[in-house]
Amino acid sequence: MTARASTVASRISATGTANALELRGLTRMFGALAALTDINLTVRPGERRAVLGSNGAGKTTLFNCITGDFPPTAGTIRLFGEDVTHFPPHERIRRGLRRTYQISLLFAGLSVRDNVYLACRGVSRYRFSLLRPRRDDALMASAEGLIEAVHLSDARETLVGDLSYGQQRQLEVALALAGAPRFVLFDEPAAGLSPTERRELVEILTNLPSHMGFIIIEHDMDVALRVAESVTMMHNGRIFKEGKPAEIESDAEVQALYLGGGHG
């Protein structure tokens, strides 16, 4: 596989200086519809970026291309300096990329703990182990820690299908934080959360270790501008503005589009 070709050494040397994410000319077509057109985007390591844009702007498609859920029609994706454009999703995840899904993609038939444990196992060794984890298993401990971090301790044995909507959203976040993520894509993590849950989420995001960069798609300006240090505006599959939160908020063009654009 192509994935094998890059040696560990080259990966490590690339990591030191390279950008967390570099998109060049990224384009994605769905038939005749251009969901993404010529996207160029650079995110520094540790940077926290909000992506805003009305429904159908192409934000989720952007995430799908970055993680490899869909291949892009054209363009390149570099992750920590390494060209991952043709890597399968799991190889990108093993390099420190994580994501949440806008519509929760969880294992409804498994408990909260097994969901998080699977996430921890996915980015560690012995994924094929036929031996059950011991009580003092390190991954099990980190799964417990994540469950606590997203305030799901009381529901750890609950089947995920029986969780409330808000709890499922919290679990989405926990799955994306398993292992040692270096760069996370959050797709509308706050959508549908209660004000309390929203506050807890902002707290989780602001307390992430500073080397951990992320992109957050968020309609709620309050949440987005509180956790992000830079903002990218998308419309009709294109980036049309990048800047600091304050600049974006006061931008006349943005206000016209965003407030008039019927986002939801």
Binding site: T67, G68, D69, P88, P89, H90, I93, R94, R98, R99, Y101, L105, L106, F107, A108, G109, L110, S111, R113, D114, Y117, L118, A119, R121, G122, V123, Y126, R127, F128, S129, L130, L131, R132, P133, R134, R135, D136, M140, E157, L175, A178, G179
Partner: protein, 367 residues
Amino acid sequence: MAVTDHGTGQGAEGRRAPAHGTWIESIPPAVWALGAVLLLMPALANDFVLYQIFGWTFILGMIGLSLMFLAGYGGMVSLVQMSVAGMAGYMVAIFGSSAIETISLGWPWYLSVPVAILIAVAFGTVAGALAVRTEGIYTIMITLAIASAFFYFTRQNYVIFNGFSGFNGVLPPQLFGVDWRQAVPFYYLTLFWAVLSYLAVLYVRRAPFGLALQGVRDNPRRMRALGFNVTAHRIAAYSLAAVIAAIAGILLTWQSAQISPGTAGVGPVIDILIIAVVGGLRHPIGPFIGALIYVVLSTFAIDILTGLGLAGERFRLLIGLGFLVIVFFSPDGVLGLWEKWRASGRRDPLTGEDRGEDRGGNREGGA
């Protein structure tokens, strides 16, 4: 394995039992009773029942179990498991001894048996590698195609597989001075391997590999986004299932002392699917229940039919009808019926028909 089994603090175990108490204490009394009955069976049953009914049930149950493992935990309905068993049977005949001395190499069992299992597992793995890129009905079709190809190949190839007649005189080794084709030893031999495979599947489903396999079944896209190589995981499941089918295939060959193309023909291939579905795909005990029903029906249906003045060859009709009835009343097989019955017993012991709908609704809510 048993050592690590003891210390698991996760999932269903955690839900069921508090931290204290050993795993032995957590075994329900019904299982103890069943275990005792199975162990003491030779004192209760005659040789025919031990050898033909139970021996055959354990063997077919194991092949059904290998299908159940793939279908129940992996969401992949594979019809190639009977062919994997057939391959293992052929390989012990070819590498070990049989009446066909021009072909059989006459290796001792400690070489021929492992080699047979290895080749059968390789076959199951390759079949899996071809099948995992397909979904649903296409998985069934491609594995059925491989199974048919295996059947026709063995029937037409005389150099290795001895064509139409196959191999006879394929006997188990006289290990420990025991004739393993005697009813009681054969009963314990098949019981041992059936219980071991059953426990192995129960164990693996809560191990990282088994959990991940269920994750792949429910949500392959998310599994990729968690760092799992979904394709590799599916293929590995085929390998693991093939180990069980291969052991069963060798036992099957020893039981009848022969292997021929018909052993893994399209009929038996479908029978294994019927066994697994009738028993239930949700729990590894299902295929053994299905196998017992199948064996009892196919053994005694002829007597029943001729007793009723019908043609004895129609026993397949009876099996087919039984299959229809069970699947019609319970898509989850006999296991599903059992669960329904237990659920209804808990809830509403007095009322009649109404209970059915109520029960269905509640069961779905919990599933």
